[in-house]
């Protein structure tokens, strides 16, 4: 069951009654709205998202969830992420399409996008190279967490280390990607690979 534990732990203990999640959502609504506001949404956008969430909860028919409050926060968080992603995607598409006009478009119009794809590939290479500098174990833990979806507790158990050691590996991995990304964003097209000049050492205690 722990595979589902990331904010959505189901358990028979403390089952919510039918409609309980929705009731709880109404209680928690001001807190969830506050979360959206501190993440930078306008009041209107926050209200709109909360309304969406209410409709989604209705279609769930109030199924029982463990840690329902954390679940509602996680759901709000995910919806915000979805919105930001699709907004970014729409802007990209509109940009491309407005250059195109109607009917059949010639190949000239798609060329900037092909170039964008190439840049995306180069960025990926730079970040991949940065990750490869990390110890094998850190990369393994990062993969388990980010790709395979293991919880930190499960990773700690399988590798026989403490949960706080797992956390430290994850901090280090995110740090390396963030540093590589910061260099890419600062100097487009001229990114160098290697340890950042502002590197903060977090390499202690990896295998505690």
């Amino acid at each position: 069951m722990h595979k589902y534990a990331r904010g959505v732990g189901w358990s028979n203990a403390g089952r919510m009654s039918e409609g309980g999640l929705k009731g709880l959502f109404l209680d928690l609504r001001p807190a969830l709205t506050r979360y959206l506001l501190v993440r930078g949404l306008s009041q209107d956008d926050a209200d709109d998202l909360i309304q969406d969430m209410y409709l989604k909860l209705e279609s769930y028919q109030g199924g029982p969830v463990g840690e329902p409050r954390a679940y509602l926060y996680r759901m709000t968080h995910n919806l915000l992420l979805d919105r930001r992603r699709s907004a970014a995607r729409r802007i990209r598409r509109e940009k491309e399409w407005s250059a195109g006009g109607t009917g059949v478009v010639s190949e000239v119009d798609v060329r900037p996008s092909a170039e964008e794809a190439l840049i995306a590939r180069e960025r990926l290479n730079v970040i991949t190279t940065a990750l490869k500098i990390l110890p094998e174990r850190t990369r393994d833990i990062f993969r388990r967490f980010r790709i395979d979806g293991q919880t930190q507790k499960v990773i700690a158990g399988e590798l026989g280390v403490s949960k706080s050691a797992v956390e430290k590996h994850l901090y280090r991995a995110y740090h390396v990607v963030a540093a590589a990304k910061a260099r890419l964003d600062e100097e487009p097209g001229d990114a160098t690979i290697g340890e950042g000049e502002r590197h903060r050492d977090m390499s202690d205690d990896h295998d505690r």
Binding site: A120, L131, R143, G149, Q150, E167, Y174, R200
Partner: protein
């Protein structure tokens, strides 16, 4: 190092810690996170930056660490497979519980199919969306909202990544696992085509394990044929769902197959045209005559309409 740079660095590390903490956060963690965000607008900015880092990290991890961890005593190391095929009773009950009795038909997959010329969007309760192109069929399961099987045709998947349950698409014997992404899949006589618009996917995680990032595509002819990787315009992936078809140096035979699926009529090609490459965007005009007239001009061919659908022939052979 300047004071500002030092502060930025400290904020970045703080944001990383929050990101790791709320991944499995209790309600107390979330409340503390909200307080931290509210304490200074710079905190929200720093956290947004880490979310962007997380998004870019996914595909890079797959490249840097392509091997999935092998748990001891586990014959099915893929997590998706582990809980879908071998997951057992506990997982089934868990999923039945959250979607409620009204929506669940346990162990009873359902099909969604379209006729040629028809498109249809399926919104899953999880918030994921699957748009089906014409003459396509997909099997879903109420019990497992993170799995889909494309029986035939074409679909674009807009999937929110949930690390606890990766979304898996099965196409014939091939499997595609998302890493938080928008991707398009075609299954027809020519095999399987996958193109990624956003994020990345893992193709056949248990065998070839090909990673496709945004702007990449692959063709798998099936059988013993080699998998061919190539680039694709990421903004054009799945554009059929918006009434357009976009291509970069694509053989006309594939363009014709896509057109047929989209308009619900047969589209045949003069054999000499089959391997001609096409780059451009076709708007799926409801006026078919205008659509083919435009296409004919662009390709320097003649478009003929008859009882057996549309036919594209070279100008040379057909004369004027």
């Amino acid at each position: 190092m300047t004071m500002t740079a030092e502060r930025d660095d400290a904020l970045r590390e703080e944001a990383i810690r929050w990101h790791v903490r709320i991944a499995e956060g209790s309600v107390e963690d979330w409340e503390a996170f909200v307080d931290w965000l509210g304490a200074d607008p710079a905190h929200a900015q720093a956290y947004d930056a880490i979310e962007a880092v997380d998004a870019e990290a996914g595909p890079a991890i797959l490249e840097a660490q392509p091997q999935a961890p092998q748990a001891a005593n586990d014959d099915n190391p893929s997590p998706a497979r582990g809980w879908w095929w071998g997951g057992g009773v506990a997982a089934s009950i868990a999923l039945a519980a959250i979607f409620g009795p009204g929506l669940v038909q346990r162990g009873d997959p359902y099909h969604v199919a379209t006729l040629a010329g028809q498109t249809r969007t399926v919104a899953l309760p999880s918030g994921d969306r699957i748009a089906l192109n014409g003459n396509s069929s997909i099997t879903l399961d109420h019990q497992n909202p993170r799995f889909a099987k494309l029986e035939r045709g074409e679909a674009i998947f807009t999937i929110r990544h949930d690390p606890a349950a990766p979304f898996v698409v099965q196409v014939g014997d091939e499997r595609i696992q998302d890493v938080g992404t928008v991707f398009n899949v075609v299954r027809d006589e020519d095999g399987v085509r996958v193109a990624v618009a956003e994020g990345s996917v893992l193709y056949n995680p248990q065998s070839e394990a090909v990673t496709l990032a945004a702007g990449e595509s692959l063709r798998d002819p099936g059988g013993n044929g080699a998998i061919i990787r190539s680039g694709v315009d990421p903004t054009a992936v799945g554009s059929w769902s918006e009434g357009r078809l976009s291509y970069t140096a694509t053989p006309l035979s594939l363009v014709a197959a896509d057109l047929a699926r989209a308009i619900g009529e047969k589209v045949t090609l003069d054999p000499v045209l089959e391997n001609q490459r096409f780059t451009g965007t076709i708007t799926l005009d409801t006026d078919r005559a205008r659509l083919f007239a435009d296409l004919a001009v662009l390709l320097n061919v003649r478009a003929e309409h008859g009882a057996s659908g549309w036919k594209l022939v070279t100008r040379n052979r057909a004369g004027r």
